[in-house]
Amino acid sequence: MKVKAQAVQERNPAAKVPKTGADLFVEALQAAGVDTIFGYPGGAVLPIYDALYRAEPQFKHILTRHEQGAIHAAEGYARVSGKPGVVIATSGPGATNLITGIADAMMDSLPLVIFTGQVGRSVIGTDAFQESDVMGITTPITKHNYQVQRQEDMPRIVKEAFYIATTGRPGPVVIDIPKDISGEAYQTAVSSHAIHLPGYQPTTKPNSNQIKKLIQAIEEAKRPVLLTGAGVLHAKAAQEVENFAKHFKLPVASTLLGLGAFPASHPQFLGMGGMHGTYAANRALYECDLLINVGARFDDRLTGNLAHFAPEATIAHIDIDPAEIGKIIPTSIPVVSDAKAAIEALLAEESSATASEDWCNHLQQYKADFPLWYNNPVQDLTPQWVMQAVHKATDGKAIITTDVGQHQMWAAQYYGFDQPNRWVTSGGLGTMGFGFPAAIGAQLACPDSTVISIVGDGGFQMTMQELSVLQERRLPVKVLIVNNQSLGMVRQWQEFFYQERYSESLLNVQPDFIKLADSYSIKGVRLDTQEQLVQQLPSLLQSDEPVVIDCRVLRQENVFPMIAPGKGLHEMIGVSR
């Protein structure tokens, strides 16, 4: 075969090609107002990529170097923008490479619309080349899924998918497109563009009786606490929640994913609760007599042993998903609603109740007596200190994405988020490999923000191939590797619960991350001391180029305080030095 180098270089203006199902697909994406999609081509999506090529659509296509990179990027994009993340992958291995990200988005309620190629309809079910049962595999990890059976249904299905992904409790929706559906010219007129979902009517406005009941509970409570979850962020209700907390003088604790829903620097903020939460937040959750949960799902990492979670409290739970209410904890005041609508309704009651001063002072005392702590040597880098330095260098205004492990907990504890939608982390699934691609998506959604991907030396190696995207697009993402030369969180558990048997958790051999960055034409810097960091970090983070920072932190540092597995909120260890 003769290689036509020229033809590869030049855009081949659309020769007369009849419109195909894939063109319907591109039109449907345009109609949905998409501005960025993440994907990777392959046999079953060739017609789709051809249509993208011919149509020169308004939206950008970001070619990641692995489908997992594409879907985590879409998650990062969705988390900071509130808009749906869009992904395309081919059938079989392309689709199965997405699975971790789909499961992650399902757990953390992120709106994604995912398109997978499928083998042609005539061979579905025959174990055809690159066939996998995408519908079967994704059913338990999607809010909904479709396989397009007729070309004329394409516009309606795409429209429904965006609607389902972004309304009610957000979540991932998969659309599986057989190759003949996308590849063949279409004759039939489109059946209907109208959404038809009679079984899907999310409740978004609260029941006024429940609102009154909750107000009454606040008025009667002696020790109320407000718990803010990611539902506040999905509902874009941070301002309302702040007003609400201030109005009733409620002490506020946050979940991991809820960080930023209430300003960390506000005096009423007690910190994050749960396994690595602050003493004040966990005591508040333990001692309260009224717990007002807005948009959190009582994850076990928050509650610890359920027998000791808010044992004396009346539980009020505001959630848009009725199935979350009462799932983990019997709830006496259920409010099925969008968080914003519920908080507005609560404020409209014009109650003048406020939390008792004694209770608030009591919690403030905890805050003062048992703050987060770490030992800081003179020279060496401690990870907690690094997080504080990052905060300082960015004035607390950066978008921070993390991977999973110790560095994630330190970032959550020490960065101090004052604004919503700046914190991007994998909470429910705890997916290593998430942080770096998520930063790519976040940077594309917010081109003018400083985006810092705080990753572990372990997790970064799971998706670091996406450095190619930084190189290609010159995206100014800052990768900060918290390099403790170990799978730190695993090492910590082995130290505490397995008598220091460090089974496969020490990374004694590592790539040279500076050379790695260099091979992608990206600046790489290694920082070993506090002095180096103080000198270099601000300019590195302010640069408008991508940077990889290999931050050599103390290897044996542990995350404190901690609630050991199976223990209750009142059994924290490592509360003070």
Partner: protein
């Protein structure tokens, strides 16, 4: 406790898979499922008999079912006046000499012999699960060669006596 739950669903491909998958994922024990078309085109009705520990679990189940996009309506009809029916086909060992004896068992159950061969008889019996169990007890001594059951399908009766307690998942509706 055993509960009878019905769901009306959009008759789209994958719906049954989604629902049974959900039950498996959330660790619900299904005794039986029956599915079929309804009087409305494109809408099917499912009847589940499930074994749940307590009311909290039951509420979870109905809420999770309700949450599915293709599910239109979910109801726990156990405590209502209902008609619940199941059909069983039983192939019983039956040499010619036992035929009349078997017929005499069949008659009071309003079951019917739907096939007879030289050494066996297939009996069709319809009714609630207790009735079917009772029938099976009676024919078991003759030797059951094969058995198949459809699982329960159920309806609310046209007239409902007034009861105090409402629906357990009423917080979905405002």
């Amino acid at each position: 406790m055993k509960r009878v739950i019905t769901a009306t669903v959009q008759n789209r491909s994958g719906v049954l898979n989604r629902i049974t998958g959900l039950m498996q994922k959330r660790q619900f024990n299904i005794d039986s499922i029956s599915v079929g078309k309804t009087e409305v085109e494109q809408i099917s009705r499912m009847t589940f008999v499930v074994e749940v520990e307590d009311m909290q679990k039951l509420e979870q189940l109905t809420k999770q079912l309700h949450k599915q996009i293709d599910v239109l309506k979910v109801a726990d009809i156990t405590d209502h006046a209902i008609v619940a029916r199941e059909l069983a086909l039983v192939k019983v060992v039956c040499p010619p000499a036992s035929r009349s004896e078997l017929q005499s068992i069949i008659a009071p159950f309003r079951a019917s012999a739907v096939d007879i061969s030289k050494d066996s008889m297939i009996v069709q019996v319809t009714g609630d699960s207790d009735k079917i169990e009772a029938f099976l007890e009676l024919v078991r001594p003759y030797g059951i060669k094969e058995l198949t059951r459809t699982g329960v399908t159920a309806f609310l009766r046209g007239h409902q006596p007034q009861t105090a307690d409402g629906n357990t998942y009423s917080l979905i509706t405002n």
